[in-house]
């Protein structure tokens, strides 16, 4: 088998497994997995920038929230139906990521991390400042009647699972396709050695900007879907914590691997779910995992797997 057909078989099998799981899972885990798939889409968006382009952003909550508010506010304030609202969320993510990319990409390394952090913080504060529309930290609920997309009621558990699955599959296939295109190869070349990529004649800035936009828009789509599927929009999703989460998921699962974000999200979601039953200080787990990962497994789970067993893993 060639590497390509191997990877297609593996990812196809993962998708088939996720599709089949909805028929056997008990209700609680059924709901959880739908949530994990949407969050994993967010992580996959993050992974395009961090894992494949090598740019560490600390501000992806800004994109997630841009998609969520773009969707939520157009339903809540403009009375849009879910279809156009999703598009509005997507457009908001596109605009915000293009603006942020154009500014933040003038910096590199640590400065890039701080600039993205600061812009995301400004975004969060903006959501609080316009509390009359966004209802701030309290957030607002999207009513069941407003969540019917093309005749499908997204508040129904089965349909919600299926919608989350469609989103996840869409993002997974996009990333899988991306890493096999020449464009994706250039991104990896920039990650490995930016100067060499520049010397070979590639427009590094344009490629990085495209990566930020792609990554931000995918994160925004996940944010818009999260709000629509679970019926809640709030400023919590714009806090620093939601910029740290995708970093944590991707690091844990394996940066620069297609399946890493799913593995990381699934693992972390259940780790926090189990520990929050014991203590309110569940973020302690996140902190410990972050430190242990940087110390012992900077490659993440899928990365270690690739280094030891499946060298062809994309």
């Amino acid at each position: 088998m060639t590497d390509l057909s191997r990877s297609l078989a593996l990812h196809g099998a993962v998708l088939a497994l996720l599709f089949a799981l909805q028929f056997v899972l008990p209700a609680y885990h059924h709901g959880n997995l739908a949530r994990v798939m949407v969050l994993a889409s967010f992580a996959m968006g993050y992974n395009i920038l961090f894992g494949y382009t090598g740019l560490l952003s600390l501000g992806h909550a800004l994109f997630f929230a841009a998609g969520m508010y773009g969707m939520g506010l157009s339903i809540n304030q403009l009375g849009a139906s879910p279809g156009p609202a999703l598009l509005a969320g997507l457009a908001a993510g596109l605009a915000v990521s293009a603006a942020l990319g154009a500014l933040a990409l003038r910096t590199t390394g640590v400065a890039f991390m701080i600039v993205t952090l600061m812009f995301a913080q400004a975004g969060y504060l903006t959501a609080l400042y316009f509390g009359t529309y966004t209802r701030g930290d309290e957030g607002f609920v999207i009513q069941q009647a407003e969540r019917v997309l093309w005749g499908f009621d997204l508040s129904d558990a089965t349909i919600r699972y299926f919608a989350a699955f469609v989103l996840f599959a869409l993002c997974l296939l996009t990333v899988l396709w991306l890493v096999h295109t020449p464009f994706g190869r250039v991104l990896i070349a920039i990650r490995e050695n930016e100067e060499r990529a520049r010397m070979l004649g590639y427009d590094v800035f344009a490629h990085k900007l495209a990566a930020v936009i792609l990554s931000g828009t995918m994160s925004a789509l996940a944010g818009a879907c999260y709000g629509l599927l679970f019926g809640y929009v709030g400023a919590t999703f714009a806090t620093v914590q939601y910029s740290i989460f995708p970093l944590l998921w991707v690091l844990l699962g394996g940066a620069g691997t297609v399946l890493g974000p799913l593995i990381g999200t699934l693992f972390m979601f259940y780790l926090i779910d189990l520990s929050s039953a014991v203590t309110t200080a569940y973020m302690l787990i996140a902190g410990v995992v972050l430190v242990l990962l940087t110390l012992y497994a900077p490659q993440g789970l899928a990365g270690e797997l690739r280094a030891r067993v499946w060298r062809w893993l994309p």
Partner: protein, 308 residues
């Protein structure tokens, strides 16, 4: 009250903010300057200083001044030692790689914060100030006979607030003297200028790093002990000092100590005055945007000099 006395009161409050901010930010700036890493857990060392001060003053009975004086000496050392331990167990092992250090210190941030939540709890707790006399402040006005001093109602400060400003100035002068006039300072500056050359001359760079990381955390803790009689100790109180220190360090020029102090005074003073005219949230939005744009368009900081 007229505008003049009001402005004076705002500047005095601002000077207290600036004094504590300068201590915290100089700690962050020192770590960045010498070690070239950003310590995201810096605000948590600040918080730990406040919480430990509450714990220690509660432990020591008797006059509040006794426990407080002890806290002022012991707490920064304790926090500094914890930071040294964190440096040796975590940062040293990842080779002070800038990006991995940020991820690791984010992890440390959550560990310190959440362990405090589990042990100290979610309440905000006050610490009694060692002394707290009210001092009425005079203001001048024109009367028929010329300039005259008078004491407007409500224009006052406390002796403790003035002491905070004094203590911060003393410590900052101490840090300056340490950096410029001692052998330890010489080693730090040598490490800052050229790590490899310092290593070649036999300077124990890793021990210098550990000491600087401890010193930076200790300065933040000292600032927190000073501020805790004015502002209560809470497990989430590290967020604002971290953000403000970032702003100060970036505006002052990354790694430049005089620039950091100048920016701290500027930000501390303007913080109070801006909040009078705008809503605090809008002031914060403008401040964070300003920092981001400074980093994008003037990475050497407003007062810094561009390095070759």
């Amino acid at each position: 009250m007229e505008f003049g006395p009001y402005l004076m009161l705002a500047s005095l409050e601002g000077a207290v903010t600036a004094a504590v901010l300068a201590l915290t930010a100089v700690g962050l700036s020192l770590v960045f300057g010498v070690m070239r890493v950003v310590n995201v857990a810096h605000g948590e060392f600040f918080m730990l200083g406040a919480v430990l001060a509450w714990w220690l003053t509660g432990l020591i009975g008797g006059h509040p001044a006794l426990g407080f004086a002890l806290a002022l000496v012991v707490v920064p050392v304790l926090v500094g030692l914890l930071a040294v331990a964190a440096d040796m167990t975590v940062l040293k092992r990842i080779g002070y790689d800038p990006e991995r250090t940020i991820v690791a210190t984010i992890g440390l941030l959550y560990i310190i914060q959440q362990v405090t939540l589990m042990t100290y709890g979610p309440e905000a707790r006050p610490v009694a100030p060692p002394f707290n006399t009210r001092i009425a402040l005079p203001w001048v006005e024109w009367t028929g006979g010329g300039l005259q001093l008078y004491w407007p109602w409500g224009l006052s400060t406390t002796s403790y607030k003035l002491a905070v400003i004094g203590a911060a100035v003393v410590v900052l002068v101490g840090v300056w003297a340490l950096m410029t006039h001692t052998r330890a300072g010489l080693l730090m500056r040598a490490t800052q200028m050229d790590r490899d050359m310092a290593l070649a001359f036999g300077i124990p760079v890793e021990r210098v790093y550990a000491a600087v990381f401890g010193l930076g955390a200790g300065l933040a803790a000292f600032g927190a002990v000073l501020v805790v009689p004015i502002q209560q100790a809470h497990y989430l109180m590290g967020g604002d000092p971290l953000l403000l220190s970032f702003i100060v360090v970036i505006i002052g020029g990354l790694g430049s100590l005089p620039g950091t102090v100048l920016a701290a005074v500027l930000v501390g003073l303007s913080d109070g005055i801006i909040s009078v005219f705008f809503s605090p949230t809008l002031a914060k939005i403008l401040a964070t945007l300003l920092v981001a744009l400074v980093l994008v368009f003037r990475p050497q900081g407003l007062f810094g000099v561009r390095r070759a």
